[in-house]
């Protein structure tokens, strides 16, 4: 198992940050997020906390080097390059905190990634609870967030182990499949560690990007309110187009080519 931990403070109030969390897709840093749905949402009648479960479809994050080692079909739903993420959040507006948990739903035996975040309102010295419209724009209040990501690979345990042994018996790793030979020579624990480390290094980048995305949404919220966020999203979505985000980006490059982005409602 591997862990990643990060602490960060947003210069925005808790209401703004919690709203940005629900509003964070799409943003310019979320091109890998294809769809996002609310599958369940309710208020706990006793605590008044808001519970939300969302399903996100993202471009697969399994590196191709690892994918090649896996039996067909294990790399996500029919190797489509997409993966489902289940996200649950609980918001307590009175105590000023929000807890989130995101986990991958498939290929959890290969690598299970669980990201947990706790957002906590940091009150200004005066200790006044100002949850009104103005607080969305006030800079006085800050929000701390602690992110913890846990990686656990079970690859090689159980039925996957036999495949590894078969690979080792085939010999001639140099000529046929050097990469596979390399992996076959590792112990089960070594493979697991390798995969966990790949996950870890990719997560550092992902956590940074998600922060950038949140900041963009927060800035839009501050300068234009909800309307500002929605307009920003519309622009992002137009830039993405109906073909799916990444294709459009590839086709058009990253900037300058404004003439092509003229579709008005997609």
């Amino acid at each position: 198992m591997k862990f990643f931990e990060n602490n960060f403070t947003y210069d925005y109030s808790f209401p703004a940050v919690s709203m940005a969390y629900f509003l964070r897709y799409p943003n310019p840093y979320s091109r890998h997020v294809l769809t996002s749905d609310v599958v369940d949402r309710y208020i706990d009648p006793e605590t008044q906390r808001l519970h939300t479960t969302r399903l996100h479809l993202k471009k697969s994050k399994i590196p191709s080097g690892i994918l090649k080692l896996l039996p067909k079909g294990m790399g996500g739903s029919d190797n489509s390059g997409q993966s489902y993420i289940l996200e649950t959040t609980v918001v307590d507006p009175n105590e000023g905190w929000m807890e989130t948990e995101s986990r991958n739903m498939e290929w959890t035996g290969i690598l299970s990634v669980v990201e947990k975040q706790r957002y906590q309102r940091l009150l200004p010295a005066m200790d006044q609870v100002l949850i009104d419209g103005a607080s969305l724009e006030q800079k006085a209040e800050q929000t701390a967030v602690k992110t913890t990501v846990t990686f656990r690979s079970r690859l090689g345990q159980g039925k996957l182990l036999s495949r590894k042994k078969a690979g080792a018996d085939n010999a001639d790793p140099e000529e046929e499949a050097p990469k596979r030979g390399f992996f076959a020579s590792l112990s089960t624990a070594g493979i697991q560690r390798t995969i966990e480390l790949v996950g870890l290094s990719r997560t550092r980048e992902a956590v940074m990007k998600s922060k950038e995305g949140m900041n963009i949404v927060l800035e839009r919220l501050r300068s234009g309110g909800i309307v500002g966020v929605l307009e920003g999203m519309r622009r992002d979505r137009e830039a993405l187009g109906p073909e799916g985000p990444w294709k459009r980006v590839w086709l058009q490059g990253n900037g300058g080519n404004n003439a092509a982005i003229k579709d008005d409602d997609e």
Binding site: D37, L55, E101
Partner: protein, 80 residues
């Protein structure tokens, strides 16, 4: 707003999302946790979504994933 996994639900999802944001920022976060402004839209959106998830065979995967959160941890500890 982010697109739905079910394109046919995009329209009702957008209506619901907009309603939710308004309710969340103007009511819920200000302490009015009892209001139910968006319940009707959410029911419509959910009906549309569930139908699509079922057609895609995702409903059972979703149920299992939602249940299994803590179970997988316990199971893992038992094995190792």
């Amino acid at each position: 707003m982010a697109a739905s996994i079910a394109p046919e639900c995009n329209e009702v999802k957008e209506k619901y999302d907009t309603c939710f944001l308004k309710w969340y920022s103007e009511k819920y976060l200000r302490g009015n946790t009892k209001s139910t402004d968006c319940d009707e839209l959410f029911a419509k959106y959910k009906t549309c979504l569930q139908k699509s998830l079922k057609e895609k065979g995702l409903d059972t995967m979703l149920d299992e994933a939602r249940k299994s959160g803590s179970e997988t941890d316990a199971e893992f500890l038992k094995k190792s």
